[in-house]
Amino acid sequence: MAKMQEKKEKKSLSGQLLGIALILMLVFSLLIGAGCSQGAVTPQNDDEAGEEAAAGAEGDEQVAEEGEFIILSTTTSTYDSGLLDFMLPAFTEKYGIEVRVVSQGTGQALETGKRGDADALLVHDRASELQLVEEGYFTDRQDVMYNDFIILGPAGDPAAIKGMESATEAFTKIAEEEEIFISRGDDSGTNRRELSIWDKTGVNERGEWYKSVGQGMGDTLRMAGELQGYTMSDRGTYLSLKDTLDLEILVEGDPNLFNQYGIMAVSPEMHSHVKYEQAMKLIDFFMSPEGQDMIASFKIGDDTLFFPGKGVE
Protein backbone atom coordinates (compact mmCIF):
# COMPACT_ATOMS: atom_id res chain seq x y z
CA MET A 1 0.00 0.00 0.00
CA ALA A 2 1.54 3.29 -1.06
CA LYS A 3 0.90 5.89 1.59
CA MET A 4 0.84 8.77 -0.84
CA GLN A 5 -2.08 7.32 -2.69
CA GLU A 6 -4.00 6.42 0.39
CA LYS A 7 -3.98 9.96 1.66
CA LYS A 8 -5.69 11.17 -1.46
CA GLU A 9 -8.51 8.69 -1.24
CA LYS A 10 -11.69 10.48 -0.46
CA LYS A 11 -14.51 8.42 -1.85
CA SER A 12 -16.39 6.25 0.57
CA LEU A 13 -15.83 2.53 0.44
CA SER A 14 -19.27 2.04 -0.98
CA GLY A 15 -18.60 4.61 -3.64
CA GLN A 16 -15.41 2.88 -4.53
CA LEU A 17 -17.07 -0.49 -4.91
CA LEU A 18 -19.74 1.06 -7.08
CA GLY A 19 -17.00 2.70 -9.12
CA ILE A 20 -15.32 -0.63 -9.71
CA ALA A 21 -18.64 -2.12 -10.79
CA LEU A 22 -19.32 0.73 -13.19
CA ILE A 23 -15.86 0.55 -14.73
CA LEU A 24 -16.23 -3.16 -15.25
CA MET A 25 -19.62 -2.69 -16.84
CA LEU A 26 -18.13 -0.08 -19.13
CA VAL A 27 -15.34 -2.45 -20.14
CA PHE A 28 -17.94 -5.11 -20.70
CA SER A 29 -20.08 -2.95 -22.93
CA LEU A 30 -16.99 -1.97 -24.90
CA LEU A 31 -16.26 -5.64 -25.40
CA ILE A 32 -19.74 -6.15 -26.74
CA GLY A 33 -19.51 -3.05 -28.84
CA ALA A 34 -16.35 -4.32 -30.44
CA GLY A 35 -18.25 -7.49 -31.17
CA CYS A 36 -15.41 -9.52 -29.80
CA SER A 37 -16.70 -12.81 -28.67
CA GLN A 38 -14.98 -14.86 -26.04
CA GLY A 39 -17.07 -17.87 -26.84
CA ALA A 40 -16.22 -18.07 -30.51
CA VAL A 41 -14.04 -21.12 -30.54
CA THR A 42 -15.04 -22.36 -33.91
CA PRO A 43 -12.62 -21.86 -36.75
CA GLN A 44 -14.85 -19.03 -37.94
CA ASN A 45 -13.52 -16.75 -35.22
CA ASP A 46 -13.36 -13.60 -37.25
CA ASP A 47 -16.84 -13.81 -38.56
CA GLU A 48 -18.32 -10.96 -36.61
CA ALA A 49 -15.68 -8.64 -37.97
CA GLY A 50 -16.16 -10.10 -41.39
CA GLU A 51 -19.85 -9.53 -41.14
CA GLU A 52 -19.42 -5.89 -40.33
CA ALA A 53 -17.03 -5.40 -43.19
CA ALA A 54 -19.39 -7.17 -45.51
CA ALA A 55 -22.30 -5.07 -44.31
CA GLY A 56 -20.31 -1.94 -45.02
CA ALA A 57 -19.28 -3.06 -48.47
CA GLU A 58 -22.71 -4.39 -49.28
CA GLY A 59 -23.48 -4.60 -52.95
CA ASP A 60 -20.06 -4.25 -54.50
CA GLU A 61 -18.60 -7.48 -53.27
CA GLN A 62 -18.74 -10.02 -56.02
CA VAL A 63 -16.13 -12.50 -54.90
CA ALA A 64 -16.78 -14.42 -51.73
CA GLU A 65 -14.05 -14.10 -49.16
CA GLU A 66 -12.62 -16.60 -46.77
CA GLY A 67 -14.63 -16.78 -43.57
CA GLU A 68 -17.75 -15.29 -45.07
CA PHE A 69 -21.09 -16.59 -43.93
CA ILE A 70 -24.79 -16.09 -44.35
CA ILE A 71 -27.65 -16.99 -42.09
CA LEU A 72 -30.31 -19.23 -43.59
CA SER A 73 -33.55 -19.32 -41.68
CA THR A 74 -35.41 -22.50 -42.37
CA THR A 75 -38.14 -24.73 -41.08
CA THR A 76 -37.62 -27.56 -38.66
CA SER A 77 -39.03 -30.00 -41.22
CA THR A 78 -36.31 -29.17 -43.74
CA TYR A 79 -33.56 -29.11 -41.16
CA ASP A 80 -34.52 -32.28 -39.31
CA SER A 81 -34.69 -34.23 -42.58
CA GLY A 82 -30.94 -33.82 -43.05
CA LEU A 83 -31.24 -32.33 -46.55
CA LEU A 84 -29.24 -29.26 -45.65
CA ASP A 85 -26.43 -31.28 -44.07
CA PHE A 86 -26.31 -33.06 -47.42
CA MET A 87 -26.35 -29.99 -49.66
CA LEU A 88 -24.66 -27.15 -47.84
CA PRO A 89 -21.13 -28.59 -47.67
CA ALA A 90 -21.16 -28.70 -51.48
CA PHE A 91 -22.22 -25.07 -51.61
CA THR A 92 -19.58 -23.97 -49.12
CA GLU A 93 -16.97 -25.94 -51.03
CA LYS A 94 -17.88 -24.18 -54.24
CA TYR A 95 -18.33 -20.59 -53.07
CA GLY A 96 -16.41 -20.44 -49.81
CA ILE A 97 -19.47 -19.15 -48.02
CA GLU A 98 -20.44 -20.81 -44.77
CA VAL A 99 -24.17 -21.18 -44.20
CA ARG A 100 -25.36 -20.90 -40.61
CA VAL A 101 -28.71 -22.58 -40.33
CA VAL A 102 -31.30 -21.44 -37.83
CA SER A 103 -34.22 -23.82 -37.82
CA GLN A 104 -37.60 -22.56 -36.65
CA GLY A 105 -41.27 -22.97 -37.49
CA THR A 106 -42.22 -21.28 -40.76
CA GLY A 107 -44.05 -18.49 -38.94
CA GLN A 108 -41.03 -17.68 -36.81
CA ALA A 109 -38.65 -18.14 -39.75
CA LEU A 110 -40.64 -15.59 -41.78
CA GLU A 111 -40.57 -13.22 -38.79
CA THR A 112 -36.81 -13.68 -38.41
CA GLY A 113 -36.42 -12.74 -42.07
CA LYS A 114 -38.77 -9.78 -41.80
CA ARG A 115 -36.69 -8.42 -38.91
CA GLY A 116 -33.54 -8.74 -40.97
CA ASP A 117 -31.95 -11.36 -38.74
CA ALA A 118 -31.37 -13.75 -41.63
CA ASP A 119 -30.08 -13.39 -45.18
CA ALA A 120 -32.01 -16.15 -46.89
CA LEU A 121 -35.08 -18.25 -46.17
CA LEU A 122 -36.13 -21.77 -47.07
CA VAL A 123 -39.75 -22.21 -45.97
CA HIS A 124 -43.05 -23.73 -47.00
CA ASP A 125 -46.06 -21.48 -46.84
CA ARG A 126 -46.46 -20.36 -50.40
CA ALA A 127 -49.34 -17.95 -49.88
CA SER A 128 -47.58 -16.07 -47.06
CA GLU A 129 -44.30 -16.08 -48.92
CA LEU A 130 -45.84 -14.50 -52.02
CA GLN A 131 -47.62 -11.92 -49.92
CA LEU A 132 -44.42 -10.94 -48.08
CA VAL A 133 -42.55 -10.69 -51.38
CA GLU A 134 -45.35 -8.40 -52.52
CA GLU A 135 -44.94 -6.32 -49.36
CA GLY A 136 -41.24 -5.93 -50.12
CA TYR A 137 -39.69 -7.93 -47.29
CA PHE A 138 -38.32 -10.67 -49.51
CA THR A 139 -37.13 -10.92 -53.06
CA ASP A 140 -36.09 -13.42 -55.73
CA ARG A 141 -38.42 -16.14 -54.50
CA GLN A 142 -38.15 -19.46 -56.32
CA ASP A 143 -40.16 -22.65 -56.06
CA VAL A 144 -37.21 -24.81 -55.09
CA MET A 145 -38.71 -28.18 -54.28
CA TYR A 146 -41.83 -29.91 -53.09
CA ASN A 147 -43.11 -32.94 -51.34
CA ASP A 148 -46.37 -33.63 -49.63
CA PHE A 149 -48.01 -33.83 -46.27
CA ILE A 150 -49.33 -37.09 -44.99
CA ILE A 151 -51.82 -38.01 -42.30
CA LEU A 152 -50.43 -40.48 -39.83
CA GLY A 153 -51.92 -42.56 -37.09
CA PRO A 154 -51.57 -45.76 -35.09
CA ALA A 155 -51.61 -49.07 -36.96
CA GLY A 156 -54.95 -49.93 -35.32
CA ASP A 157 -56.54 -46.85 -36.95
CA PRO A 158 -59.49 -46.48 -34.51
CA ALA A 159 -61.11 -43.76 -36.65
CA ALA A 160 -60.84 -45.96 -39.74
CA ILE A 161 -59.46 -43.37 -42.11
CA LYS A 162 -56.91 -45.56 -43.83
CA GLY A 163 -57.03 -45.24 -47.57
CA MET A 164 -59.31 -42.19 -47.67
CA GLU A 165 -58.52 -39.88 -50.57
CA SER A 166 -59.69 -36.66 -49.03
CA ALA A 167 -57.80 -35.11 -46.13
CA THR A 168 -60.90 -33.09 -45.27
CA GLU A 169 -63.02 -36.22 -44.92
CA ALA A 170 -60.35 -37.94 -42.86
CA PHE A 171 -60.17 -34.98 -40.47
CA THR A 172 -63.97 -34.90 -40.21
CA LYS A 173 -63.98 -38.58 -39.31
CA ILE A 174 -61.32 -38.13 -36.63
CA ALA A 175 -63.41 -35.30 -35.16
CA GLU A 176 -66.58 -37.38 -35.20
CA GLU A 177 -64.87 -40.29 -33.46
CA GLU A 178 -63.11 -37.87 -31.12
CA GLU A 179 -59.83 -39.68 -31.58
CA ILE A 180 -56.64 -38.05 -30.33
CA PHE A 181 -55.16 -35.61 -32.82
CA ILE A 182 -51.81 -33.95 -32.18
CA SER A 183 -51.37 -30.55 -33.76
CA ARG A 184 -48.05 -28.74 -33.87
CA GLY A 185 -49.72 -25.52 -32.86
CA ASP A 186 -46.55 -23.52 -33.53
CA ASP A 187 -47.61 -21.43 -36.53
CA SER A 188 -45.31 -23.45 -38.75
CA GLY A 189 -46.04 -24.12 -42.41
CA THR A 190 -47.32 -27.57 -41.54
CA ASN A 191 -49.50 -26.15 -38.78
CA ARG A 192 -50.92 -23.47 -41.07
CA ARG A 193 -51.78 -26.09 -43.66
CA GLU A 194 -53.39 -28.34 -41.07
CA LEU A 195 -55.55 -25.47 -39.82
CA SER A 196 -56.62 -24.62 -43.37
CA ILE A 197 -57.85 -28.22 -43.76
CA TRP A 198 -59.74 -27.99 -40.48
CA ASP A 199 -61.35 -24.82 -41.82
CA LYS A 200 -62.60 -26.80 -44.80
CA THR A 201 -64.14 -29.49 -42.59
CA GLY A 202 -66.30 -26.96 -40.83
CA VAL A 203 -65.44 -28.58 -37.50
CA ASN A 204 -65.11 -25.47 -35.38
CA GLU A 205 -65.39 -26.98 -31.93
CA ARG A 206 -62.39 -29.15 -31.26
CA GLY A 207 -62.50 -30.72 -27.84
CA GLU A 208 -60.21 -32.51 -25.45
CA TRP A 209 -59.10 -34.95 -28.11
CA TYR A 210 -57.41 -32.19 -30.08
CA LYS A 211 -54.01 -31.41 -28.59
CA SER A 212 -52.09 -28.37 -29.76
CA VAL A 213 -48.56 -28.98 -28.47
CA GLY A 214 -46.48 -26.06 -29.74
CA GLN A 215 -43.55 -28.26 -30.76
CA GLY A 216 -41.46 -28.89 -33.84
CA MET A 217 -42.33 -31.66 -36.29
CA GLY A 218 -40.06 -34.27 -34.74
CA ASP A 219 -41.43 -33.76 -31.24
CA THR A 220 -45.00 -33.70 -32.49
CA LEU A 221 -44.53 -37.02 -34.27
CA ARG A 222 -42.98 -38.44 -31.16
CA MET A 223 -45.93 -37.34 -29.06
CA ALA A 224 -48.40 -38.74 -31.58
CA GLY A 225 -46.55 -42.04 -31.41
CA GLU A 226 -46.49 -42.11 -27.62
CA LEU A 227 -50.17 -41.19 -27.33
CA GLN A 228 -51.14 -43.38 -30.31
CA GLY A 229 -52.95 -40.46 -31.88
CA TYR A 230 -53.31 -39.00 -35.35
CA THR A 231 -51.21 -36.18 -36.76
CA MET A 232 -50.22 -34.50 -39.97
CA SER A 233 -46.60 -34.29 -41.04
CA ASP A 234 -44.49 -33.45 -44.04
CA ARG A 235 -43.28 -36.63 -45.65
CA GLY A 236 -39.59 -35.77 -45.27
CA THR A 237 -39.55 -35.50 -41.49
CA TYR A 238 -41.69 -38.60 -41.12
CA LEU A 239 -39.37 -40.65 -43.32
CA SER A 240 -36.28 -39.47 -41.47
CA LEU A 241 -37.82 -40.50 -38.13
CA LYS A 242 -39.84 -43.48 -39.33
CA ASP A 243 -37.70 -46.09 -37.61
CA THR A 244 -38.12 -44.57 -34.18
CA LEU A 245 -41.87 -44.03 -34.50
CA ASP A 246 -44.88 -46.26 -33.98
CA LEU A 247 -47.01 -44.56 -36.65
CA GLU A 248 -48.25 -45.41 -40.13
CA ILE A 249 -49.18 -43.42 -43.22
CA LEU A 250 -52.97 -43.54 -43.48
CA VAL A 251 -53.90 -40.79 -45.93
CA GLU A 252 -51.83 -39.35 -48.77
CA GLY A 253 -52.17 -37.92 -52.27
CA ASP A 254 -54.90 -35.34 -51.67
CA PRO A 255 -54.03 -32.11 -53.58
CA ASN A 256 -54.77 -30.30 -50.32
CA LEU A 257 -51.74 -32.06 -48.91
CA PHE A 258 -49.35 -30.75 -51.52
CA ASN A 259 -46.30 -29.05 -49.94
CA GLN A 260 -44.31 -26.50 -51.94
CA TYR A 261 -41.02 -25.14 -50.58
CA GLY A 262 -39.78 -21.72 -51.54
CA ILE A 263 -36.31 -20.19 -51.27
CA MET A 264 -35.87 -16.44 -51.19
CA ALA A 265 -33.56 -13.64 -50.12
CA VAL A 266 -34.24 -10.94 -47.57
CA SER A 267 -34.67 -7.70 -49.49
CA PRO A 268 -31.59 -5.46 -49.27
CA GLU A 269 -33.90 -2.52 -49.78
CA MET A 270 -35.65 -3.36 -46.54
CA HIS A 271 -32.48 -4.22 -44.61
CA SER A 272 -29.33 -2.68 -46.02
CA HIS A 273 -27.02 -4.90 -43.95
CA VAL A 274 -28.15 -8.23 -45.41
CA LYS A 275 -25.74 -10.15 -47.60
CA TYR A 276 -27.86 -10.16 -50.68
CA GLU A 277 -25.12 -11.15 -53.10
CA GLN A 278 -24.19 -14.20 -51.08
CA ALA A 279 -27.83 -15.11 -50.48
CA MET A 280 -28.36 -15.00 -54.24
CA LYS A 281 -25.47 -17.41 -54.69
CA LEU A 282 -27.24 -19.83 -52.39
CA ILE A 283 -30.54 -19.44 -54.26
CA ASP A 284 -28.77 -19.89 -57.60
CA PHE A 285 -27.04 -22.98 -56.26
CA PHE A 286 -30.32 -24.55 -55.13
CA MET A 287 -31.94 -23.73 -58.50
CA SER A 288 -28.96 -24.85 -60.60
CA PRO A 289 -29.09 -28.25 -62.30
CA GLU A 290 -26.51 -29.46 -59.79
CA GLY A 291 -28.58 -28.31 -56.82
CA GLN A 292 -31.83 -29.66 -58.21
CA ASP A 293 -30.14 -33.01 -58.89
CA MET A 294 -28.89 -33.14 -55.34
CA ILE A 295 -32.40 -32.55 -54.01
CA ALA A 296 -33.73 -35.34 -56.20
CA SER A 297 -30.98 -37.72 -55.15
CA PHE A 298 -31.38 -37.16 -51.42
CA LYS A 299 -32.84 -40.30 -49.96
CA ILE A 300 -33.40 -41.95 -46.66
CA GLY A 301 -33.29 -45.65 -47.24
CA ASP A 302 -35.21 -46.04 -50.50
CA ASP A 303 -37.46 -43.08 -49.95
CA THR A 304 -37.11 -39.81 -51.81
CA LEU A 305 -37.95 -36.93 -49.48
CA PHE A 306 -38.11 -33.95 -51.80
CA PHE A 307 -38.79 -33.42 -55.49
CA PRO A 308 -37.03 -30.58 -57.28
CA GLY A 309 -38.76 -27.54 -58.70
CA LYS A 310 -42.37 -26.53 -58.71
CA GLY A 311 -44.98 -29.16 -58.15
CA VAL A 312 -48.42 -29.07 -59.67
CA GLU A 313 -51.29 -28.71 -57.29
Binding site: E9, A21, I32, V102
Partner: protein, 236 residues
Protein backbone atom coordinates in the same frame (compact mmCIF):
# COMPACT_ATOMS: atom_id res chain seq x y z
CA UNK B 1 -36.33 -50.40 -23.65
CA UNK B 2 -33.69 -51.93 -25.92
CA UNK B 3 -33.46 -48.54 -27.66
CA UNK B 4 -32.72 -46.89 -24.38
CA UNK B 5 -29.96 -49.34 -23.51
CA UNK B 6 -28.58 -49.08 -27.02
CA UNK B 7 -28.60 -45.30 -26.69
CA UNK B 8 -26.79 -45.39 -23.37
CA UNK B 9 -24.12 -47.73 -24.68
CA UNK B 10 -23.55 -45.55 -27.71
CA UNK B 11 -23.54 -42.45 -25.54
CA UNK B 12 -20.75 -43.82 -23.38
CA UNK B 13 -18.83 -44.82 -26.48
CA UNK B 14 -19.06 -41.21 -27.61
CA UNK B 15 -17.84 -39.98 -24.25
CA UNK B 16 -15.02 -42.46 -23.85
CA UNK B 17 -13.71 -41.96 -27.38
CA UNK B 18 -13.93 -38.20 -26.88
CA UNK B 19 -16.10 -37.86 -29.96
CA UNK B 20 -15.04 -34.57 -31.58
CA UNK B 21 -18.61 -33.46 -32.21
CA UNK B 22 -19.54 -34.05 -28.57
CA UNK B 23 -16.37 -32.40 -27.29
CA UNK B 24 -16.91 -29.35 -29.45
CA UNK B 25 -20.39 -28.83 -28.05
CA UNK B 26 -19.19 -29.33 -24.47
CA UNK B 27 -16.30 -26.94 -24.97
CA UNK B 28 -18.55 -24.26 -26.43
CA UNK B 29 -20.95 -24.66 -23.50
CA UNK B 30 -18.16 -24.27 -21.00
CA UNK B 31 -16.71 -21.29 -22.82
CA UNK B 32 -19.98 -19.43 -23.24
CA UNK B 33 -21.12 -20.07 -19.66
CA UNK B 34 -17.61 -19.51 -18.33
CA UNK B 35 -17.32 -16.15 -20.04
CA UNK B 36 -20.80 -15.15 -18.92
CA UNK B 37 -20.02 -16.06 -15.32
CA UNK B 38 -16.61 -14.36 -15.40
CA UNK B 39 -18.23 -11.12 -16.53
CA UNK B 40 -21.07 -11.55 -14.05
CA UNK B 41 -18.53 -12.03 -11.32
CA UNK B 42 -16.62 -8.88 -12.23
CA UNK B 43 -19.81 -6.83 -12.10
CA UNK B 44 -21.85 -8.78 -9.58
CA UNK B 45 -19.34 -9.14 -6.75
CA UNK B 46 -18.56 -5.41 -6.39
CA UNK B 47 -22.24 -4.56 -6.86
CA UNK B 48 -23.29 -7.16 -4.28
CA UNK B 49 -20.61 -5.95 -1.86
CA UNK B 50 -21.73 -2.36 -2.36
CA UNK B 51 -25.34 -3.25 -1.62
CA UNK B 52 -24.45 -5.62 1.21
CA UNK B 53 -22.66 -2.85 3.12
CA UNK B 54 -25.62 -0.50 2.91
CA UNK B 55 -28.27 -0.80 5.60
CA UNK B 56 -30.94 -3.24 4.43
CA UNK B 57 -33.69 -0.64 4.63
CA UNK B 58 -31.94 1.64 2.19
CA UNK B 59 -31.47 -1.04 -0.45
CA UNK B 60 -34.95 -2.50 -0.14
CA UNK B 61 -36.03 -1.43 -3.61
CA UNK B 62 -32.84 -2.53 -5.34
CA UNK B 63 -32.96 -5.81 -3.43
CA UNK B 64 -36.48 -6.47 -4.67
CA UNK B 65 -35.39 -5.89 -8.25
CA UNK B 66 -32.36 -8.10 -7.76
CA UNK B 67 -34.41 -10.92 -6.23
CA UNK B 68 -36.88 -10.69 -9.10
CA UNK B 69 -34.06 -10.89 -11.62
CA UNK B 70 -32.58 -13.87 -9.77
CA UNK B 71 -35.72 -15.76 -10.65
CA UNK B 72 -35.88 -14.42 -14.20
CA UNK B 73 -36.95 -17.29 -16.46
CA UNK B 74 -34.23 -17.93 -19.05
CA UNK B 75 -36.68 -17.68 -21.94
CA UNK B 76 -37.74 -14.24 -20.80
CA UNK B 77 -34.11 -13.14 -20.60
CA UNK B 78 -33.62 -14.66 -24.04
CA UNK B 79 -36.62 -12.84 -25.43
CA UNK B 80 -35.52 -9.48 -24.04
CA UNK B 81 -31.98 -9.85 -25.34
CA UNK B 82 -33.36 -11.08 -28.66
CA UNK B 83 -35.54 -7.99 -29.04
CA UNK B 84 -32.58 -5.77 -28.17
CA UNK B 85 -29.99 -7.28 -30.49
CA UNK B 86 -32.19 -8.36 -33.38
CA UNK B 87 -31.50 -6.32 -36.52
CA UNK B 88 -34.80 -4.57 -35.98
CA UNK B 89 -33.91 -3.84 -32.33
CA UNK B 90 -32.02 -0.89 -30.83
CA UNK B 91 -28.67 -2.73 -30.81
CA UNK B 92 -29.26 -4.39 -34.17
CA UNK B 93 -26.39 -2.62 -35.93
CA UNK B 94 -23.84 -4.78 -34.12
CA UNK B 95 -25.18 -7.92 -35.75
CA UNK B 96 -24.93 -9.97 -32.56
CA UNK B 97 -27.94 -12.24 -32.97
CA UNK B 98 -27.03 -15.89 -33.51
CA UNK B 99 -23.45 -15.45 -32.23
CA UNK B 100 -21.76 -16.80 -29.10
CA UNK B 101 -21.49 -13.19 -27.92
CA UNK B 102 -25.28 -12.97 -27.86
CA UNK B 103 -25.40 -16.14 -25.76
CA UNK B 104 -22.85 -14.70 -23.34
CA UNK B 105 -24.92 -11.53 -22.98
CA UNK B 106 -28.09 -13.53 -22.34
CA UNK B 107 -26.43 -15.75 -19.76
CA UNK B 108 -24.81 -12.70 -18.19
CA UNK B 109 -28.28 -11.29 -17.51
CA UNK B 110 -29.16 -14.58 -15.81
CA UNK B 111 -25.99 -15.05 -13.77
CA UNK B 112 -25.26 -11.44 -12.76
CA UNK B 113 -28.32 -10.96 -10.50
CA UNK B 114 -27.66 -14.30 -8.81
CA UNK B 115 -24.03 -13.48 -8.12
CA UNK B 116 -24.82 -9.94 -7.01
CA UNK B 117 -27.78 -11.05 -4.90
CA UNK B 118 -26.04 -13.91 -3.13
CA UNK B 119 -22.93 -11.79 -2.60
CA UNK B 120 -25.12 -9.10 -1.07
CA UNK B 121 -26.74 -11.56 1.31
CA UNK B 122 -23.37 -13.08 2.19
CA UNK B 123 -21.76 -9.75 2.90
CA UNK B 124 -24.73 -8.33 4.79
CA UNK B 125 -24.32 -10.89 7.57
CA UNK B 126 -20.84 -9.75 8.59
CA UNK B 127 -19.73 -7.11 6.11
CA UNK B 128 -20.48 -4.01 8.17
CA UNK B 129 -18.51 -5.16 11.22
CA UNK B 130 -15.63 -6.31 9.03
CA UNK B 131 -15.61 -2.96 7.30
CA UNK B 132 -15.55 -1.04 10.58
CA UNK B 133 -12.91 -3.29 12.10
CA UNK B 134 -10.65 -2.90 9.09
CA UNK B 135 -11.10 0.85 9.06
CA UNK B 136 -10.44 1.26 12.72
CA UNK B 137 -7.27 -0.80 12.31
CA UNK B 138 -6.08 1.75 9.78
CA UNK B 139 -6.82 0.01 6.50
CA UNK B 140 -7.04 2.19 3.42
CA UNK B 141 -10.31 2.23 1.48
CA UNK B 142 -8.96 -0.26 -1.00
CA UNK B 143 -7.63 -2.62 1.64
CA UNK B 144 -10.93 -2.33 3.51
CA UNK B 145 -12.88 -3.28 0.40
CA UNK B 146 -10.55 -6.17 -0.23
CA UNK B 147 -10.81 -7.34 3.37
CA UNK B 148 -14.61 -7.30 3.23
CA UNK B 149 -14.61 -9.37 0.03
CA UNK B 150 -11.93 -11.71 1.33
CA UNK B 151 -13.83 -12.34 4.55
CA UNK B 152 -16.95 -13.22 2.59
CA UNK B 153 -15.08 -15.40 0.13
CA UNK B 154 -17.04 -18.57 0.83
CA UNK B 155 -20.34 -16.85 0.21
CA UNK B 156 -18.94 -15.24 -2.95
CA UNK B 157 -17.53 -18.48 -4.31
CA UNK B 158 -20.87 -20.07 -3.56
CA UNK B 159 -22.61 -17.30 -5.47
CA UNK B 160 -20.33 -17.76 -8.48
CA UNK B 161 -20.77 -21.51 -8.53
CA UNK B 162 -24.54 -21.15 -8.23
CA UNK B 163 -24.54 -18.69 -11.12
CA UNK B 164 -22.51 -21.06 -13.27
CA UNK B 165 -24.78 -23.97 -12.39
CA UNK B 166 -27.76 -21.97 -13.52
CA UNK B 167 -26.46 -20.85 -16.90
CA UNK B 168 -24.74 -24.07 -17.96
CA UNK B 169 -28.06 -25.88 -17.56
CA UNK B 170 -30.38 -23.33 -19.10
CA UNK B 171 -31.75 -23.83 -22.58
CA UNK B 172 -34.35 -21.14 -23.19
CA UNK B 173 -32.13 -18.09 -23.53
CA UNK B 174 -29.32 -19.60 -25.61
CA UNK B 175 -31.84 -21.24 -27.92
CA UNK B 176 -33.51 -17.93 -28.72
CA UNK B 177 -30.46 -15.72 -29.09
CA UNK B 178 -27.99 -18.34 -30.29
CA UNK B 179 -30.23 -20.08 -32.80
CA UNK B 180 -28.65 -23.49 -32.13
CA UNK B 181 -26.42 -23.22 -35.21
CA UNK B 182 -24.35 -26.34 -35.75
CA UNK B 183 -20.71 -25.80 -34.82
CA UNK B 184 -21.28 -22.16 -34.03
CA UNK B 185 -23.87 -21.62 -31.31
CA UNK B 186 -24.90 -25.15 -30.44
CA UNK B 187 -24.37 -25.88 -26.76
CA UNK B 188 -25.16 -28.94 -24.66
CA UNK B 189 -28.71 -28.04 -23.73
CA UNK B 190 -29.84 -26.90 -27.17
CA UNK B 191 -28.18 -29.91 -28.74
CA UNK B 192 -30.09 -32.21 -26.38
CA UNK B 193 -33.37 -30.59 -27.41
CA UNK B 194 -32.54 -30.97 -31.08
CA UNK B 195 -31.18 -34.49 -30.95
CA UNK B 196 -34.16 -35.64 -28.94
CA UNK B 197 -36.57 -34.18 -31.48
CA UNK B 198 -34.63 -35.94 -34.21
CA UNK B 199 -34.65 -39.20 -32.33
CA UNK B 200 -30.84 -39.34 -32.09
CA UNK B 201 -30.76 -40.44 -28.51
CA UNK B 202 -27.09 -41.43 -28.36
CA UNK B 203 -25.77 -37.88 -28.65
CA UNK B 204 -28.59 -36.55 -26.47
CA UNK B 205 -27.80 -39.07 -23.73
CA UNK B 206 -24.06 -38.47 -24.07
CA UNK B 207 -24.59 -34.74 -23.62
CA UNK B 208 -27.00 -35.39 -20.80
CA UNK B 209 -24.38 -37.45 -19.00
CA UNK B 210 -21.77 -34.74 -19.55
CA UNK B 211 -24.16 -32.15 -18.17
CA UNK B 212 -24.89 -34.33 -15.16
CA UNK B 213 -21.19 -34.76 -14.47
CA UNK B 214 -20.63 -31.02 -14.67
CA UNK B 215 -23.63 -30.43 -12.44
CA UNK B 216 -22.30 -32.97 -9.95
CA UNK B 217 -18.92 -31.27 -9.82
CA UNK B 218 -20.56 -27.88 -9.34
CA UNK B 219 -22.81 -29.08 -6.56
CA UNK B 220 -20.01 -30.90 -4.79
CA UNK B 221 -18.05 -27.68 -4.87
CA UNK B 222 -21.03 -25.76 -3.54
CA UNK B 223 -21.62 -28.32 -0.83
CA UNK B 224 -18.00 -28.09 0.21
CA UNK B 225 -18.08 -24.29 0.24
CA UNK B 226 -21.27 -24.11 2.24
CA UNK B 227 -19.84 -26.60 4.70
CA UNK B 228 -16.83 -24.30 4.98
CA UNK B 229 -18.92 -21.24 5.64
CA UNK B 230 -21.00 -23.01 8.22
CA UNK B 231 -18.14 -24.35 10.27
CA UNK B 232 -16.32 -21.03 10.42
CA UNK B 233 -19.41 -19.13 11.35
CA UNK B 234 -20.15 -21.46 14.19
CA UNK B 235 -16.69 -20.96 15.57
CA UNK B 236 -16.55 -17.22 15.29
Amino acid sequence: MPRLIEGIIEAFTLIITLDPNLMKIIMLSLQVSGAAVALSMLCGVPLGAFLGLKPAVRTRFVSKILYTLMGLPPVVAGLIIYLLISRAGPLGVFGLLYTPTAMIIAQFTLAMPIIAGLTMVGIRSRGKEIQETARTLGASRLLTAWTVIRESRFAIFGAIVTGFGRVIAEVGAVMIVGGNIDGHTRVMTTAIVLETSKGHYELAIGLGVALLVISFVINSLLYYLQGGVGSYDRRL
